[in-house]
């Protein structure tokens, strides 16, 4: 079996050997694609929206409403970040449909996003409660719970990133295992062409590539919103 991590090649920049992995290349392709898409949707905007503009307005309105419902009116400034994260994550997983390696099946990607959210949560917490209140929050409800509180602080980015990574990578592994099994079945039946691989992997692809990709992007953004929203509430309110 050959389930591998992303391939990479090395480039020589000023005497330093820099490893450029498949994930980075795919990531930049997605960035270019999203930029082109957004520019296409929003150029030449009118008071009375055209079809293109309506799609862009629909995206913005949906995200704004979701952020408003989940985080409240004070945290509307986070809406662009959430929309970016959602789009990047969604296309990062959906790119598997066109045969590229999904960007989110690399743990580096999801860990980066989880760490972004993590540091944002800490910053919001300090901003809302002050540095004293932030440190005091670790000794709640009783002082000897402090080690446990510190452990649970670091568990949240790990679980957030493993969830997204595990779902996409798991889908990849399961699809590959099914392909191997069906190819083996065709060989056992004496077919020269693996006819048994027609059909069944497509059903799996709908679940793992389409449903799981949309679901995980939504859940990642939703949990980020919940974490940041709850950190941004100060204790007094």
């Amino acid at each position: 079996m050959n389930v591998q991590g992303p391939h990479y090649f090395t480039v020589d920049i000023l005497g330093l050997e820099v490893k450029i992995s498949e994930t980075i290349v795919v990531g930049w392709i997605i960035i270019a694609f999203i930029t082109a898409l957004i520019l296409f949707l929003t150029h030449n905007m009118q008071k009375i929206p055209s079809k293109r503009q309506s799609i862009a307005e629909l995206i913005v309105t949906t995200v704004n409403k979701l952020v408003l419902d989940t985080m409240g009116k004070r945290n509307m400034a986070f809406a662009p970040y959430m929309a970016t994260l959602f789009m990047f994550s969604l296309f990062g997983s959906l790119v598997g449909l066109v045969g590229l390696r999904p960007m989110t099946a690399d743990y580096n990607t999801t860990l980066t996003w989880a760490l972004l959210t993590f540091f944002m949560v800490q910053a919001c917490n300090i901003k809302a409660n002050g540095i004293g209140g932030y440190l005091k929050g670790f000794t709640e409800p009783v002082v000897f719970m402090t080690p446990l509180n510190i452990v649970s602080l670091f568990v949240s980015p790990i679980s957030l990133s493993f969830r997204h990574f595990g779902n996409i990578a798991g889908g990849m592994v399961i699809t590959m295992l099914v392909y191997f099994a069906l190819t083996g079945l065709s060989t056992a039946l004496g077919l020269s062409v693996p006819l048994a691989t027609i059909g069944i992997p497509a059903v799996l692809s709908v679940y793992f590539d389409l449903f799981s990709a949309v679901m995980q992007a939504f859940i990642f953004v939703m949990l980020s919103m919940v974490y940041i929203g709850s950190a941004n509430e100060s204790e007094e309110e």
């Binding site: 493993f162 969830r163 779902n167 679901m215 859940i219 949990l223």
Partner: protein, 84 residues
């Protein structure tokens, strides 16, 4: 020979690690059942209920995902082969 034993043990370990999948299965099924009841009682709140249920399911899934990551590491990275 030793290598074969380590590889076999890793494969068995990966299989055992995947047993962790049944806990989240029960939990998510329970959450989905409760959500169905809630929608039946209050159909107009189905949007909020579905959203909450999905987030809850995602959180309940973490333990299963941890087991899966352990299985992946055992299968494809073979950390114990270097210990020989």
């Amino acid at each position: 020979m030793e290598k074969a034993i380590v590889l076999a043990a890793s494969a068995i370990g990966a299989g055992i690690a995947m047993i962790s999948g049944f806990g989240p299965g029960i939990g998510q099924g329970y959450a989905a059942g409760k959500a169905t009841e809630a929608v039946g009682r209050q159909p107009e709140a189905s949007g909020a209920i579905t959203r909450t249920m999905l987030v809850g399911c995602a959180v309940a899934e973490s333990t299963g995902i941890y087991g899966f990551v352990v299985a992946l590491i055992l299968l494809f990275i073979n950390p114990f082969i270097d210990k020989l």
